[in-house]
């Protein structure tokens, strides 16, 4: 095949994807602000997306905080700055690692589950069935998941932040011989409101990305079991990449001086 033709067709495919995603996002956002609003479904999804993700987010946050304390201690040791551990842990967790780790965990757990569920509904004609029952599939399936994820993610991240700081505390006090009282005092004195809120804003955006990519890939799955499998993989991969890309953009915007 002509190399120019393959470059051209690849470009057209990518642009078509972006266009479809933009259109899908527009329909979803329009659905968020126009009735009917399915409150029952939103609450149900908050339990599935938020509450059931607590164990995995909590565990990863704990170990992240712990390893962060250890690394900063060892690194700081090289120039006699071990005492900075509590300050760097709280900053690293609230600004960066809390929302990103929670976002990536949710991408693995929730984007996959959403894509598999909606993809199966698509290939078994359940989405067409919704239309014939005078129910808009975007409003019934997509909007509750997006709203639930955008509300749940900051809450999850706030909990993850606390557990992450606690992970750093446990390692510092029980393994690195820090004084517990002064560790906590340094943490509280050093952390600003902005550090925490910027992390929670990021978390809300990551929640949106995860739910959107799960729904979009599910809606566009084709064929049978294999198509659903591909949609699930694509949902996890695209939402993970978009989280990290959005993280950079948001950091640049939020801390722009």
């Amino acid at each position: 095949m002509n190399p120019f033709a393959s470059i051209g067709s690849a470009t057209v495919t990518v642009l078509a994807h972006i266009g479809r995603l933009a259109q899908f996002t527009g329909q979803a956002l329009a659905g968020v602000v126009s009735p009917p609003i399915y409150t029952r479904l939103i609450l149900g999804q908050m339990v599935r997306i938020g509450f059931y993700s607590l164990p995995v987010v909590g565990l990863t946050a704990f170990f992240t905080g712990g390893v962060l304390a250890l690394q900063i201690y060892l690194g700081g040791n090289r120039f006699g700055a071990e005492a900075i551990v509590p300050q760097v842990v709280v900053l690293g967790i609230t600004r960066e690692l809390g929302p990103v780790i929670a976002g990536l965990m949710i991408a693995g757990r929730v984007a996959a589950a959403i894509a598999a569920e909606i993809g199966t509904m698509k290939v078994t004609e359940q989405i067409d069935a919704l239309t014939t029952l005078a129910t808009n599939p975007i409003k019934y399936l997509v909007v509750p998941r997006i709203v639930a994820a955008v509300i749940s993610m900051p809450i999850l991240t706030a909990i993850g932040d606390s557990i992450g700081v606690m992970g750093g505390y446990v390692v510092s006090v029980y393994s690195l011989d820090f004084n517990g009282t002064s560790y906590l005092k340094n943490t509280v004195d050093f952390a600003h409101q902005d550090d925490i809120t910027s992390g929670l804003i990021k978390a809300a955006v990551f929640g949106f990305v995860v739910a959107l990519m799960g729904c979009y890939n599910g809606f566009n799955s084709k064929g049978g079991a294999q198509g659903v499998g591909n949609a699930t993989t694509a949902a996890v991969v695209t939402s993970s990449i978009l989280i990290l890309a959005a993280d950079y953009v948001l950091t640049a915007l939020l801390f722009h001086k």
Partner: protein, 255 residues
């Protein structure tokens, strides 16, 4: 007789593949029309175009004389409220119990209270020969024939004026197929609905239809009263209804 649904020159293509190439079909009020045709001839695309799940590239679709080809949003929902559809695989919502599947259109589409909708659902289930205890099972616990019955109950739950049947007997044993045929006839008569079915099961087609139309090559190549299908004089129809491998119809192996 007035036309309930009218298709005028409906065309639909997917990429380079032309599926519908100018379909003209009139479905009279309270009649039962069956579209026959081989796999991949566009029977499902025809139904999905009328339902607005797919948009035709050209042509017009009228429901009660109203052009519904390009309507969206609440106008589409209003038109959809007079439709019911039985899907080939049932397409039951596996996250909901049977009764909520049947009551779905009432609760979500029409805002009927849940308790009242449940009573209606149980009545409709009785109409298709299912007892109340089935209502609280999950669809995954049902056999294929029972899923079809639940799908039928869901299609008629809101007393629609138009009911579509997509391959209603495919994948069922001959006895269950005949039971479903009888249920289709009785439920359609009961609610005084207009019915459009697609099938390649000729036994079912003869039994449930007043009129048969054959789709081939993206066009309706023959249509007429069910009784006349044996004297169609059309070699394509002859080959199809007798299920002969030899004839003018060449089955495409590659889609």
């Amino acid at each position: 007789m007035t036309a309930k649904i009218q298709l005028i020159g409906v065309k639909k293509r997917f990429g380079p593949k032309v599926v519908l190439d100018g379909v003209d079909l009139t479905i009279d009020k309270q009649s039962s029309v069956v579209i026959i045709g081989g796999s991949g001839t566009g029977k499902s695309v025809t139904i999905k175009s009328i339902l607005g799940i797919l948009r035709p590239d050209e042509g017009t679709i009228l429901v009660d004389g109203e052009d519904v080809t390009h309507i969206n949003g609440s106008a589409r929902d209003r038109v959809m409220r007079q439709f019911g559809m039985l899907f080939q695989g049932g397409a039951l919502f596996d996250s909901l119990p049977v009764w909520e599947n049947v009551a779905f259109g009432l609760i979500q589409g029409r805002g009927v209270a849940r308790a009242k909708a449940r009573d209606i659902a149980i009545q409709k289930l009785a109409k298709v020969g299912l007892t109340e205890d089935v209502a609280f099972l999950s669809p995954a616990e049902l056999s294929g024939g029972m899923q079809k019955r639940v799908g039928l109950a869901r299609a008629i739950a809101a007393d629609p004026e138009i009911i579509f049947f997509d391959e209603p007997t495919t994948g069922l044993d001959p006895i269950m197929a005949d039971i479903i045929n009888d249920l289709i006839i009785s439920t359609v008569k009961d609610v005084g609905a207009t019915a459009l079915s697609i099938t390649h099961d000729m036994v079912s087609a003869r039994k449930i239809s007043d009129k048969i139309a054959m789709l081939y090559g993206g066009k309706i190549i023959w249509q007429g009263p069910t009784g006349e299908i044996d004297h169609s004089g059309n070699p394509y129809v002859e080959q199809f209804i007798h299920g002969r491998a030899e004839g003018p119809i060449k089955m495409a192996v590659k889609a």
